[in-house]
């Protein structure tokens, strides 16, 4: 079975090589694979359908970056769109109200509400220096109030006691009164788990909400949730004015497609991720991480990167061919070379590893520091193609124009030309086949680069 999108796409991608533009035709099959991958990640079917249409529209007619194959370009569109749809990173809780700021949590049974209440309390106490009170309106689950009380004690939060013979709405009201009296900054109210189809229980939580008018109403949902996520999210969102979502149990291996389903159905921001059972296990939401996980990535981005690297390798080979043919090493090659070195871990890092570079004059080495590379590239970019090919033609007025165009000084241009001259000499020394060997050697010394 396919594990992730990149594996799924391998075969399809191969067939797409060498096309310059994404079309309905060349993306159809790949999009089918994307659909499967999303379904396997538990993204709800209607959401998958919308998403695929969205990507299809976005991708159609798009030019494929020179460094990517069409299939990889498509993966990039898929990833970018997914990240965009997941919403902003690091959304904060809104506490800008007259204290106490009331936070209500709601969700299905066992989703992690009580634990999350404790995590939020701890987070607000430690990071935002707020005084926090917690209260439980779960009068159903055995020992639910006890559970919150114990958690409150471990994190040093105020606990508002309640009993199972009380009405949840009354507990909520009294807790707010008490928090106000005690001048707490924040009150977090825990509620019983409930099914969205349980009308009595949904009525109950609406009444609780109406009684305390929370500034944040958070939907706590298990990241292992499957297709039903759309139904529950829709119902909770309709019943309550949700202000955000917290995705729990992301420390397991669930792909977490429910995150996209819920996000699409409610449009509400995902504010935090639960990453463990401890009260400290709460993290800010980062869309690209969750997107990568849904797509089964790391790998997919890796694939795109690999493609980019492969493209660079082609360039390097072409360049080697140029050298072998005895054609000159020009400034364009020099620029590409610099850019590639930067990608391969930085020029400074590479200097010591480059065979041949040991022989380079110290002055040249010093001048090839990482900071200089951007400047070099900018200078070369300001030259005409003709100038890049024949650097000898660059004299006085041209130097001034290039310096002005790249935001540098004439002496910077001079320095570049001198460095280039040295480089060219070195290249000549290495001669035929030397560069490919050089690249191989460098790769062999760098961990993580494909050979």
């Amino acid at each position: 079975m396919f594990d992730n999108l990149s594996q799924r796409l391998q075969a399809t991608l191969k067939r797409l090589r060498g096309e310059g533009r994404l079309t309905e035709e060349n993306t159809r099959e790949a999009l089918r694979e994307v659909r499967m991958a999303l379904l396997e990640a538990d993204v709800a079917l209607p959401v998958v359908k919308d998403f695929i249409e969205h990507v299809r529209a976005k991708a159609a007619g798009q030019d494929v970056l020179a460094s990517l194959t069409p299939g990889q370009a498509l993966v990039k569109v898929v990833n970018d769109e997914l990240v965009a749809l997941m919403g902003a990173a690091n959304e904060r809780l809104n506490l800008a109200v007259r204290p106490p700021a009331v936070i209500l949590v709601a969700g299905l049974q066992g989703s992690g509400k009580t634990t999350t209440v404790a995590k939020l309390a701890r987070f607000l106490q430690e990071r935002e220096k707020k005084s926090v009170m917690v209260a439980s309106a779960d009068v159903y689950r055995p020992a639910a109030i006890d559970q919150l009380q114990k958690l409150a004690a471990t994190i040093g939060a105020e606990f508002f006691p309640s009993r199972t013979d009380q009405q949840p709405e009354n507990i909520a009201r009294h807790a707010v009164d008490e928090a106000r009296k005690r001048v707490m900054d924040v009150l977090i109210l825990d509620t019983a788990g409930r099914l969205h189809v349980d009308e009595a229980m949904m009525r109950e939580i609406r009444a609780v909400h109406a009684a305390i008018e929370p500034v944040e109403t958070l939907f706590v949902v298990d990241s292992m949730t499957g297709q039903d996520a759309v139904n529950t999210a829709k119902a909770f969102d309709a019943a309550l004015p949700l202000t955000g979502v917290i995705l729990t149990k992301t420390d397991g291996d669930a792909r977490g497609g429910a995150a996209l389903s819920i996000r699409q159905v409610t449009g509400k921001p995902i504010k935090f991720l639960g990453v463990g059972e401890k009260t400290s296990a709460l993290e800010a939401f980062h869309p690209e991480r969750v997107a990568a996980r849904i797509l089964g990535m790391g790998d997919v981005l890796g694939l795109v990167e690999e493609a980019a690297r492969a493209a660079d390798k082609e360039k390097a080979q072409e360049f080697a061919r140029k050298l072998a043919k005895g054609k000159g090493f020009d400034l364009e090659d020099f620029r590409d070379q610099m850019a590639q070195m930067e990608k391969m871990g930085g020029v400074a890092n590479l200097m010591g590893k480059l065979p041949g570079m040991g022989e380079a004059p110290d002055a040249a080495k010093a001048q090839l520091g990482d900071r200089q590379v951007k400047q070099l590239v900018a200078i070369i970019n300001s030259m005409t193609p003709q100038e890049r090919r024949f650097p000898d033609t660059i004299r006085g007025s041209r130097k001034r124009r290039i310096a002005a165009g790249s935001g540098t000084q004439v002496q910077d241009v001079n320095r570049l030309l001198k460095q280039f001259d040295q480089m060219q000499k070195m290249m000549k020394r290495m001669g035929k086949g030397g560069l490919q060997k050089l690249l191989r050697d460098v790769k062999g010394r760098l961990p993580g680069l494909p050979g």
Binding site: Y140, P142, M224, G257
Partner: protein, 319 residues
Amino acid sequence: MTQSHPPQQTEKRPAGLFGRLREKLAATQRSFTRGLSDLLLGGRALDDSLFEELETLLLSADVGVETTQYLLKGITEQVSRKQLRDARAVYQALRQSILSIVAPCSRRLEIAAARPFVIMVVGVNGVGKTTTIAKLARRLKNDGHAVMVGAADTFRAAAIEQLKTWAGRLDIPVIAQHTGADAAAVVHDALNAAKARASDILIVDTAGRQHTQAGLMDELKKIRRVIAKADPAAPHEVLLVLDAGTGQNALSQLAHFGEAVGVTGLALTKLDGTAKGGILIALARKTGLPIRYIGVGEGMDDLREFIAEEYVDALLPAP
């Protein structure tokens, strides 16, 4: 401590053996079958759109891509052999092939006279282990067994109190230490107590844990070893509790728990919502493990034995 119950539990139940299950599964049926009756209206042609709708129904029930493709492939083959001539026949064939996958899994838990017969209950966080234990204990007690429970979730705050509350309501003994205690030591105590009191059945509650956490899975293995030391035939049942709301991750859960402690049976909780638990079909097809029980509510009576025909009827009602 007095406990009130969720409102839906206090209402009177419809009579009949499966009335309550039907009622609980009604929500499940509603959305699922609305699509189906549309699907089967009139003499629909056997075209792509019919199969697409069937695919939609299966995928939306968490059956999963692979199993859905497998089921539909079987149907299309029958169609191309001209064995199925209309939409209704296609539907029946689909029901039949799902039934043939899950039917071998409806094998009830037989309680051998082991003194004690040990049931170890495992699963990820929040799926309903403790509640299922309470329901199961009640069921077994009503069948005339002397049941005891062991509170080996020593991690989650008030997990012990939760089990104790249930045990109090059911009037059965519970063996517990304190939060933070060594879970294996609690199990050891519980085994001794069950022997001393000649209990028929000991049900061991364990802490929820993500199956990917090696350290916590090792703890579970240790509990299993402690049980096996007392009786090499024990645990007689390792029940993996799954949440019907869970999607494809259930496959990974079963794989990991199975490898660590040798799961021998499944229970699927929270089927009273709109989640369809279609992952059961994928699990049944992959492992053939017995599906012992389904949970249809939070009350202590809300546990049913899994009956394949009933499950298929609830998912795809007979036309």
